[in-house]
Subunit: 366 residues, 2 copies
DNA sequence: CTGAAAGCGCTAACAT
DNA sequence: ATGTTAGCGCTTTCAG
């Protein structure tokens, strides 16, 4: 037995009141409105409670009565390992958790695997609202959350009219980054990006697939790259874009390998996340390519490990993102208009970007 | 307005039944026991529900009735940034989340700042059980959880008699690691460790403080080091141990700095976590110390970044740890005996440990 | 300061 | 296959 033995049935507020010979109101007040009864009586109540092993009013019953669950739900439709393995995602989680802690409410992770049409968990979650983090444009779990009579705020994606949302300006941030790369002189570039759709494609992504991506964030970043490079005279058709369904460092490495194998003359690898960039960095090392002398590599997010690795990247305030989402939700009240919060980003030039190797330069490959 | 307008009051199961002219049972069955009513009727129910904007039975009311909250609580007494910034902790979280997802229950993060005596959140959480992750030996939140009439399992620490627990054998794992360092020939070593008590001490930790640590894990690791090094003829009194209250890479760096400033002849730095070790690595680099030629550095946990950095460390299966805790809790049922699950660990020798520099070797300091 | 009464919205026997 | 009945444990007016 991993709990102390309990005599028969668990004590309830009513049984405690009976034992004490007072009304249930009084016991309830002892817990919820200490000022409504004499200190002595309150003390007596609390002592008897302890003696009976009564730990206080049942949270669920209280929630039913007060119509407040005392928790917000976080909907993570990506498979969990995405949410937990990317420090950028974890940062959002942390920020949200902080906001919840401030408000004294719990944060409930609501399961919902991608592709899994089982929306039941969304319906069964006892929460006062949902934060939906980075799900595809047409996610059934999101739809289910919207059905529930509680407020919902979206983080990053999708971008839906009339919905509360918080996220960076992916397009503008990416344009900055792209201009940096263009400014260094790169014209032969490659791109590593994350999942563009719920069907797996660990391969090059066609232009159509890029533009049709079900994930707004990736779509926006790719579009920004396209726009900036075409403005610099680079035909986007000629730019190889490799996609990865999963999102670990190893995936970045394999994507870089795939891209460089086919396009060895590329001088810069632009990655839509730091995780992918970290993998690309590893692959570059494996190939004996010097960064940035032989290859420029950039990321997106500004996670700690990227900073430590000197990665050129776009930093976004992930903690603030989570916090903002929490505050928005918790303060939703009876707001009339929907609110969109755009977070600032910052281009952080590190040691992984530099001018392209010139044609005459000797290539120090393996 | 971030939600579609709802007519007056939210529909309930009862109002839906009334509208349909059927009993509440029937409506309930339509959601919970589809086989208990004709497909046509069920279809009619669901359609009317949609028309009325009824998203299904209220989770809280259902929980009250069924006596199942449908969620497990995770008690993180460390400040949240510890839980979220250390991939080892996040791994536990992920494993637990996976186990919960499997079981179709939510995972509720229950706030409880350290030092914060506000145990209310623990009492207010609507959960069917608690997983308590790595809290100090005498944590009030843990006590509060134990008060509640639900099962509890502890991850890592504290080690309490008669309680379900899952964690590695910290002592044995550390002995292995220490033997590796001893075997390389190191006799002048230093240690960087995590918080030993809830009072902040970002400084050297006395022998007394080490042995009196309120955190079982740190205590066990330090004790194992002491035992192993004394067996090798090293007086533990002479071994500097620097403690850090917070747990970020920068803390590891500053701890290493503090230690090396005072004890420059140390040839190995044993860190009780990878995070600290990563910081030590950075500091070594800053000082121009070559690792492992000038300084051996070891960690503990086996997080991804450590692997990528080639750190010699003890790997523990954090994901499994979380999963095991979840399964243990979810399967608690009416088990009679308490269960303790000890997870395997593995010494992973990387490129950061080697023989000590010999006295004659030139020291390439700054 | 304390008590009595009235549900919150739902499910689970137990009928029919 | 559907309905009737009886609460789950609590909070909250409203009276005393």
């Amino acid at each position: 037995m991993n709990r102390p033995m309990r005599s028969r049935r668990q004590a309830t507020l009513a049984s405690l009141a009976a034992e004490l010979g007072v009304s249930r109101t009084t016991v309830s007040n002892a817990y919820n409105r200490p000022d409504q009864l004499s200190p002595e009586l309150r003390k007596r109540v609390l002592e008897t409670a302890k003696r009976l092993g009564y730990a206080g009013p049942d949270p669920v019953a209280r929630s039913l009565r007060t119509r407040k669950a005392g928790a917000v739900g976080l909907l993570l439709t990506e498979n969990l390992s995405y949410a937990f393995r990317d420090p950028a995602a974890v940062g959002v989680l942390e920020g949200l958790a902080l906001a919840c802690e401030d408000a004294g409410v719990g944060l409930t992770l609501v399961p919902g695997s991608p592709g899994n049409e089982d929306v039941a968990a969304v319906h069964r979650a006892g929460v006062d609202g949902f934060v939906v983090y980075s799900v595809p444009d047409d996610d059934p779990h999101l739809e289910a959350a919207l059905q529930r009579p509680v407020p919902t705020v979206i983080v990053d994606q999708p971008q839906l009219d009339g919905m509360d949302r918080v996220g960076p300006d992916d397009e503008a941030a990416t344009v900055d980054l792209a201009n940096h790369v263009v400014g260094l002189g790169h014209r032969q570039v490659g791109v590593l990006c994350m999942r563009l759709s719920s069907d797996r494609n660990d391969d090059f992504a066609s232009l159509y697939r890029q533009q049709d991506a079900h994930y707004h964030v990736q779509r926006a970043r790719l579009a920004a790259l396209q726009r900036t490079f075409e403005a610099a005279g680079v035909s986007w058709e000629s730019v190889p874009v490799v996609e990865r369904f999963d999102h670990h460092v190893d995936d970045g490495a394999s994507a870089a390998r795939q891209l460089l194998d086919k396009h060895p003359r590329v001088t810069a690898l632009i990655c839509t996340s730091d995780i992918l960039a970290l993998g690309a960095l590893a692959e570059a090392g494996r190939r004996g390519l010097r960064v940035p002398a032989d290859l420029t590599i950039t990321g997106f997010d500004g996670i700690g490990e990227a900073t430590r690795a000197g990665l050129t990247t776009v930093h976004q305030p992930v903690l603030e993102k989570g916090k903002a989402a929490g505050k928005l939700l918790l303060g939703a009240g009876d707001r009339v208009a929907s609110k969109v919060i755009t977070l600032p980003t910052e281009l952080r030039v590190g040691t992984t970007s530099g001018p392209p190797r010139t044609a005459e330069q000797h290539w120090f490959g393996p």
